[in-house]
């Protein structure tokens, strides 16, 4: 029942106020502000409010500064001035600004220093006090303003931000932009233009013919429903209009029709508008006092009742970015902790805006929330992530965010508390009632409802009773089981149903008597309408219909919307006044056009006492004052009786008075301006002075910083030089050593290498950074990777020799790469070419082998000795064998000689050996000598020579065992003596023989023969002895040789027999003489002198008496007769003497007639 002729009340609201352009800035902002105001036209019709962060201790000169940039009046706000168009208001130090109605109010900060956010505060205040407005964020640090711009956007304002790339400090614009609600981002110059454009389009929009635009708006909402599926038709038109107008300003379109077209042609605009419509602003603990009441009145009893068993279910409707849901969660957790219970808490938070829900689920909020959240709560329920705060997981866990349309989707059930703040205000009353019905359905009996500060549950008093009216907390009334109410947007019919119900309700109530009275009054009394406190029509008198003229659009029951347009304003004012007070009032008659006939209609509005008390009602009477008289103005009517002169004088006086007033005002304003200018100039001067001082200080600081920088620079330079030197040293080192070096990192990638390595691994400079295992190397070795990994693991160097494919040999070393800080950052592999060394080694080995062979194959003993001395002048004390050959041990018979000393080996060696060694070691002159070594029973010929230089005290000795030769020499000497002795002895014997007395009468010839025979016998014996080397003589041979002089031994005259008996030389010589004497005697006188004589010589060992005695028997037979017993001659004496003397034996002689018998017994060996 909307009156098509009535413009929306929402637009009236905007048109009455002076639009506000709020400018927030901080660091670097003064420059930006000056530029901005320099650029802004002065006739945009807005009031500018500049909010900056000021030091509380210092007076500000910002006002004076800005006054120099613009012709608009600039005021520093210290109290509560009224806002004026084209005026600039500047924040004062240590104050924050809020809008109060038509005034701007400066008040003390509510937050402690450090957590103040004056930009946010003011923006929010603009948003809540004004439906629209502009917010401008300029250069600054921090994130003040970011929350505020959301509020401004939500309220329908337009947000501007300085391009962060231009801003001296980009954080504030960036944070604002990050909220996603900034409409224009531009450099200052561009911003000024945009602000001007938007202001002008706002002006244009303001002057729109709202009644004509209603259809356009409906079309827009219809189109939006088709495009997005969401119906905003039952949202308050003012709200929708405000958002649409905002979009129009942003798009710089000046009428709704054009915007409707634009919406159709630009697909993204529908989404933009949709997003704008959904925008809602929330903050942590918004209306904190209300939250406190909520805690004590609702949450605490709830938790106390439920204990730990049942769960607590809460629904936050229209949660937007989640601040409210988290606030609830925090309150619940705190309360549960206080009561020491841990109930299951489930908070459902729903919204249509998926983007906002995403933010809510993340739980990340800018630092500026510190203004809304206490420090303890921040500490307990948030994690400080430096650039922002994040809600802790325990809090996030109990909040479930869901995309849910409260109008379309079935509600959550069995709830203990529903929080729906600042949603109902956007909705028409009917829709509000429907929603409240729905909430009641979703709530448990006695469940609570928490609404926004401008909302109430009065639209559904049958469902809710209030707990705390100020805090907007209501309790669901207990009712029987109910059916779920129809969802508001499920069908279009449903929308209006509750309205009908409500409209019908009062009609049913009055009793019939009253009705009769009313009917009676109706016939005589002027037409009237009964309305409730909201201006809704309750009842019309029969003839009241002609004063009603419904405008095009949705049906409205509000009287002020449907009454004839000429009466609307008066009615509105009158109704408000009548309902506020108790006095009835009568309006001035207004001219009303009834189909061409103009009648003067006055309204009488009186409050009607209602029976229920709380529900106020009013009766509106339409009083017809008859038709309009003529075209004359009422003024003319009243002054018609005055004379012309007086009338002229009156007019002149009035004109003069007016002129006076005007000129006085002008004068005052001029003086004021001058005063302000003067003050500003003084302040600017002050500012300049302090700036100059600051500059001076800055300059000094810069100088000292410059000096510091120079020092640092010099240091860096010298470091760089060192590094450069080190680098070239390193390069020269690697080149000079020709050692192939390869640096690998921890993953065996090449870091650096030297030219020799390049050939081995086929790598070039391009390959730095690649893995070494990617390359085929030219080594006959496959373990490099394995070894490198082992080195990395064990950190012990590895060394190995390996051969390359071209035959060269390399010593490869792998060592861990240790940085100066002793970290292991890879492996260093070095390759040293050892080919020539190996060749030398091989040759040396061969030569050594040859030498060793030679050394060991010579027969002479060889040894090298280290001679030890007691002191410089003393004799050698000992010497140690440090090298010997194989022959050494052969020549000495010593074992394990090497390493031992002479005194250890042969303790009692003749001391002259050591003396000789010492002498030679000192003098360096070799010596050759022969010397005995009695201790080892040897005799040596030795050649001792120095080895190495004199200080080495080393001598070599080449020696040969000559013991055998020495023995032979001694033997020879002995033989010589013996021979001499024997020859002399023999000659003495010969002398003695020759001196023997002869038998008387012996001639010289006989004597000679005798002598010669005896000498010959001795010679025979000698012959025998010579045969056996003068050792032994055979008895048999001796006998044969002696007898053979006188005939053949074999001719039968002789019989010689006996075993082989060996005689000593002495025995042989004696026996030879004995046998000779016997033989010569036998030849002269015995058997041999006769032809038939026989001779027997027999010998044998004396058995058994003594095996070592021999008995030799001599028997002559058949010789010439023996005469008696002749005296024995010299011969016999010789025999006896010889047997006794020489043989130690005995002789027995028997001279028998048949011949001589002789028996000689003597010992043999």
């Amino acid at each position: 029942m909307t009156d098509p002729e009535n413009p929306s009340s929402a637009t009236v609201e905007t048109s009455n106020h002076i639009p506000i352009c709020a400018v927030g800035a901080s660091a670097g902002g003064v420059k930006a502000l000056r530029r901005l105001f320099h650029r802004l036209p002065e006739d945009l019709g807005m009031a500018y409010v500049v909010i900056v962060h000021l030091s509380p201790e210092h007076p500000s000169v910002l006002g004076e500064i800005l006054a120099g940039c613009t012709d608009m009046p600039v005021h520093q706000v210290n109290d509560t001035p009224q806002l004026l168009r084209n005026n600039v208001y500047v924040i004062a130090p240590d104050q924050e600004l809020v809008i109060e109605g038509e005034n701007i109010h400066a008040r003390d900060f509510t937050q402690p220093r450090g957590r103040r956010a004056p930009v946010d505060v003011f923006f929010r205040s603009v948003a809540s006090a004004r439906g629209d407005g502009m917010a401008v964020i300029l250069s600054g640090a921090g994130d003040d303003g970011a929350n505020g711009v959301r509020a401004v956007t939500e309220a329908g304002g337009v947000v501007f931000a300085q391009d962060p790339s231009e801003a001296e400090f980009s954080a504030m614009p960036q944070n604002a932009i990050a909220t996603g609600v900034v409409n224009f981002i531009a450099p200052i110059d561009g911003l000024a233009e945009r602000i001007a454009e938007v202001a002008r389009s706002k002006e244009a929009v303001r002057s729109l013919d709202m009644s004509g635009s209603f259809n356009d708006l409906r079309r827009i909402v219809g189109f939006l429903r088709a495009r997005t599926g969401h119906d905003f038709s039952s949202y308050k038109r003012a709200t929708v209009m405000r958002r649409v107008l905002r979009r129009m300003q942003v798009c710089r379109i000046t009428n709704l029709k054009d915007y409707g077209e634009y919406l159709r042609t630009a697909p993204e605009e529908a989404q933009e508008l949709f997003g704008d419509l959904l925008i809602s602003v929330t903050q942590f603990f918004r209306d904190e006092a209300h939250f406190q009441v909520l805690t004590t009145a609702a949450i605490r009893p709830l938790l106390e009742d439920c204990g730990s068993e049942t769960d607590v279910r809460i629904w936050s409707v229209g949660c937007a970015t989640g601040e409210e849901a988290y606030s609830l969660a925090i309150l619940l957790l705190e309360e549960a902790e206080r009561l020491k219970i841990s109930p299951q808490i489930q908070i459902f938070a729903s919204d249509l805006d998926e983007g906002a829900l995403g933010t809510a689920r993340e739980g990340r909020y800018p630092k500026s929330i510190a203004a809304d959240v206490s420090e303890e709560r921040l500490e307990r329920y948030f994690v400080d992530e430096r650039t922002h705060y994040r809600v802790r997981k325990e809090v996030r866990d109990i909040v479930l965010f869901a995309s849910h349309s409260v109008l379309k989707d079935p509600p959550f059930m069995r709830l203990d508390l529903i929080v729906c703040r600042n949603l109902l205000i956007y909705m028409e009353k009917a829709l509000q009632e429907q929603l409240l019905n729905l909430f009641h359905y979703g709530l448990r009996p006695n469940g609570c409802l928490f609404l926004g500060s401008a909302e109430s549950a009065d639209a559904a008093t049958q469902f809710f009773s209030s707990i705390d009216r100020d805090a907007r907390i209501f309790r669901a009334k207990t009712m029987g089981r109910r059916q779920m109410p129809a969802l508001p947007h499920v069908s279009t019919e449903d929308i209006h149903r509750p309205l009908h119900r409500q409209a019908n309700a009062p009609v049913d109530r009055p009793p019939s008597a009253a009705e009769a009275h009313v009917q009676a009054l109706e016939s005589t009394a002027p037409p009237s309408v009964l309305v409730d406190e909201h201006g809704q029509i309750l009842h019309l008198s029969p003839s009241a219909g002609r004063f009603i003229l419904h405008s095009a659009g949705t049906f409205s029951t509000k009287l002020s919307d449907v009454v004839r347009p000429e009466l609307r304003l008066d009615l509105k004012v009158g109704l408000d006044r009548a309902l506020e007070g108790t006095l009835p009032m009568l309006t001035h008659p207004a001219q009303v056009d009834f189909d061409g006939t103009f009648r003067r209609i006055a309204l009488q509005i009186a409050r009607v006492p209602s029976r229920e008390g709380s529900m106020k009602r009013a009766l509106v009477l339409f009083l017809d004052a008859g038709p309009t008289l003529s075209d004359d103005t009422p003024e003319d009517d009243t002054r018609v009786s005055l004379s012309d002169d007086s009338r002229r004088l009156y007019a002149e006086l009035k004109a003069a008075q007016e002129a006076l007033v005007v000129s006085r005002a002008e004068h005052e304003s001029a003086i004021e301006d001058l005063r302000a200018a003067n003050e500003e100039l003084q302040s600017i001067n002050e500012e300049y002075r302090s700036t100059s001082e600051e500059l001076e200080t800055s300059k000094e600081e810069l100088q000292s910083m410059n000096e510091e920088l120079q020092t640092v620079n010099a240091e860096l330079k010298s470091k760089l030089e060192n590094i450069s030197t080190a680098h070239s040293d390193l390069r020269n080192l690697t080149t000079a050593t020709e050692i192939g070096t390869l640096f690998l990192d921890g993953k065996l990638r090449i870091r650096m290498f030297t030219p020799p390595t390049a050939d081995l691994f086929n790598i070039t400079d391009m390959d730095v950074g690649r893995n070494i295992t990617d390359f085929t190397h030219r080594l006959r070795y496959d373990g490099i990777e394995r070894e490198a990994r082992r080195v990395l693991m064990d950190l012990t160097p590895v060394e190995t020799e390996l051969q390359s494919q071209d035959g060269r040999w390399f010593m490869m070393r792998l060592r861990p790469y240790r940085t100066v800080e002793d970290r292991i950052e890879g492996v260093v592999v070095t390759f040293i070419d050892v080919t020539s060394r190996r060749e030398t080694e091989r040759r040396l080995q061969a030569s050594q082998q040859e030498y060793q062979t030679l050394f060991n194959s010579i027969d002479e003993g060889f040894g090298v000795m280290q001679v030890a001395f007691d002191g410089d002048d003393d004799a050698a004390t000992d010497c140690r064998f440090i090298e010997i050959n194989d022959a050494f041990e052969r020549q000495t018979g010593l074992r394990d000689v090497l390493g031992k000393t002479l005194s250890e080996l042969v303790p009692d060696l003749e001391p002259d050996w050591l003396e000789t060694f010492g002498r030679i070691a000192r003098s360096g002159t070799p010596e050759r000598f022969e010397a005995p070594a009695a201790a080892i029973d040897r005799y040596y010929e030795a050649y001792v020579f120095p080895v190495g230089d004199k200080d080495a005290r080393k001598v070599g000795m080449l020696f040969r065992d000559i013991s055998d030769r020495k023995q032979a020499e001694a033997h020879q000497q002995m033989l010589k003596h013996e021979l001499s002795h024997r020859v002399k002895n023999t000659l003495a014997v010969v002398q003695a023989i020759a001196r023997q007395p002869t038998t008387k009468g012996t001639s010289v010839d006989e004597f000679r023969d005798q002598l010669v025979g005896r000498i010959r016998a001795l010679a025979h014996a000698h012959d025998q002895l010579v045969e056996t080397d003068w050792q032994t003589a055979s008895l048999g041979k001796l006998v044969e040789a002696t007898l053979s002089v006188y005939g053949s031994v074999t001719d039968g005259q002789f019989r010689i027999d006996g075993p082989e008996i060996m005689l000593s030389p002495r025995q042989a010589l004696s026996l030879a003489l004995v046998l000779h004497e016997l033989t010569t005697n036998a030849a002269k006188y015995g058997a041999l002198s006769h032809e038939k004589g026989t001779h027997e010589v027999l010998w044998n060992r004396t058995v058994p008496a003594d095996a070592r005695r021999v008995t030799l028997s001599w028997r002559e037979r058949d010789g010439p007769p023996v005469d008696g017993n002749p005296t024995p001659g010299f011969g016999m004496k010789l025999i006896e003497q010889a047997v006794d003397y020489e043989l130690d034996g005995s002789v027995e002689r028997t001279l028998a007639p048949e011949g001589l018998s002789l028996s000689i017994a003597f010992p043999v060996a």
Partner: protein, 121 residues
């Protein structure tokens, strides 16, 4: 040739060479000495010295390969003078004959008699 006034001096011949011993005995007897014994070995000579108690002795240095030092000691022990007769040109060995008169073999008769007389006085 013997000294008629005195009893002839009693001489022990220590000589291993039988013929030389017989020669010496003859020579000494011819010069009026009383040869009381002839000993060819060290053992028999030492025995003869103690039992016969000769007035003097002739001593060969080498008796059948043995040194005649024990005999010399025995003689000295009893204060019996002796003359050394040897085929060696000089003393060998380590015992002390230095104070004894020395006759080289083959023996010159006069030299031997003179030295023997000399030791006996």
């Amino acid at each position: 040739m013997s000294d008629s006034n005195d009893r002839p001096p009693r001489i022990l011949i220590v000589e291993d060479e039988m013929i030389l011993a017989m020669d010496l005995e003859q020579i000494l007897q011819d010069h009026g000495f009383d040869v009381v014994g002839v000993s060819p070995s060290v053992e028999r000579a030492v025995q003869a010295v103690t039992t016969l108690r000769p007035g003097a002795a002739t001593l060969d240095l080498n008796l059948r390969g043995q040194s005649s030092a024990p005999v010399a000691d025995a003689l000295r022990g009893l204060g019996i003078p002796f003359v050394v007769a040897s085929g060696y040109t000089e003393f060998i060995g380590d015992f002390d004959f230095q104070d004894a008169p020395f006759v080289r073999k083959p023996v010159a008769t006069e030299e031997l008699i003179a030295k023997l007389r000399q030791v006996l006085t």
